[in-house]
Symmetry: C2
Subunit: 173 residues, 2 copies
């Protein structure tokens, strides 16, 4: 069976491809932006490079396509509110000033996320109506990843729903 692929086929195929969730913030000029992405991936550990894509359709594309740095927030079940905030269109991301703070380097960030990494954008590549961004991780702003007592329960986006991973979702080896 061979079928040509339509936009709908493609969307439904990728709806069934789960993805980790991160919230990115950036600043360009005096404009700040935040968005939730399911496209964040590790390219290499040495050098520490990550990639993500920014759709031209996103209201935050202008900021992300001009920013020198990006702040990556890994979200967990306790910070699901942040993933929802960055994923809802038409919402002012920085309305509640108790939720965010400002790094010495000028970017706004959300300290409520369990792990936060600052990265410098090193390359941008156009692909269709999107921009693939490659960024070099430069500092760990916050990390709970190595603290067993506080080990985050990460969330996964799949088929338009949020899922959590834990002991009962693990498969036997």
């Amino acid at each position: 069976m061979t079928l040509s692929i339509s936009t709908e086929d493609f969307k439904s195929t990728f709806r069934n491809h789960p993805a980790g969730v991160a919230v990115l913030t950036a600043v360009a000029g005096d404009e700040h932006a935040a968005m939730t992405v399911s496209s964040l991936f590790s390219i290499s550990a040495d050098p520490p490079l990550i990639g993500f894509s920014v759709s031209d359709a996103s209201s935050t594309a202008r900021v992300f396509n001009a920013a020198d740095t990006v702040i990556i927030h890994m979200v967990d079940t306790d910070s699901l509110w942040l993933a929802k905030l960055g994923a809802t269109s038409g919402v002012t991301r920085f309305e509640d000033s108790t939720q965010w703070d400002v790094l010495g380097s000028g970017e706004r960030y959300f300290p409520g996320a369990p792990t936060i990494v600052r990265a410098a954008v090193v390359d941008r590549v156009r692909a269709g109506g999107s921009t693939l961004c490659v960024a070099h991780a430069v500092e760990l702003v916050k990390s709970e990843a190595d603290d067993d007592a506080m080990e985050p329960t990460p969330i996964v986006y799949h088929n338009r729903r949020w899922h959590r991973l834990n002991g009962s979702s693990a498969l036997a080896d």
Copy 2:
């Protein structure tokens, strides 16, 4: 708290970023390769573009960096064997000829995966010791995504373990 980032920090940070799992196959000349990736992501639906990264350290890099097309297998709990096959180093991926078949276009593929997409590589970008690949989906070789009775249970790779997503992993909205 601000920490500089080491290779170890970076690895442990991304160990806590879950990812969907896909198995890619490709052919270059008369050499066939298969590998499991956790870096596959959708770039745009129209045009239907996907991205993934190939580490120079992978034994299959030579084939993937030269191939004109790539066959993307979305894996589920029933095809976990395929994800393991593509993730184990030193294993001959095509040893068991009952597991794979050959497309009319020449690529080997694993019909046991629930969803299989053929894509043409349209761009390659170097990033550290890896190559970011952009591919344009050209045909749905197989799809169970829209068949409710056979809806696949996708797997997620997280912290060196395989997880499954299902009703009990879903979070309330």
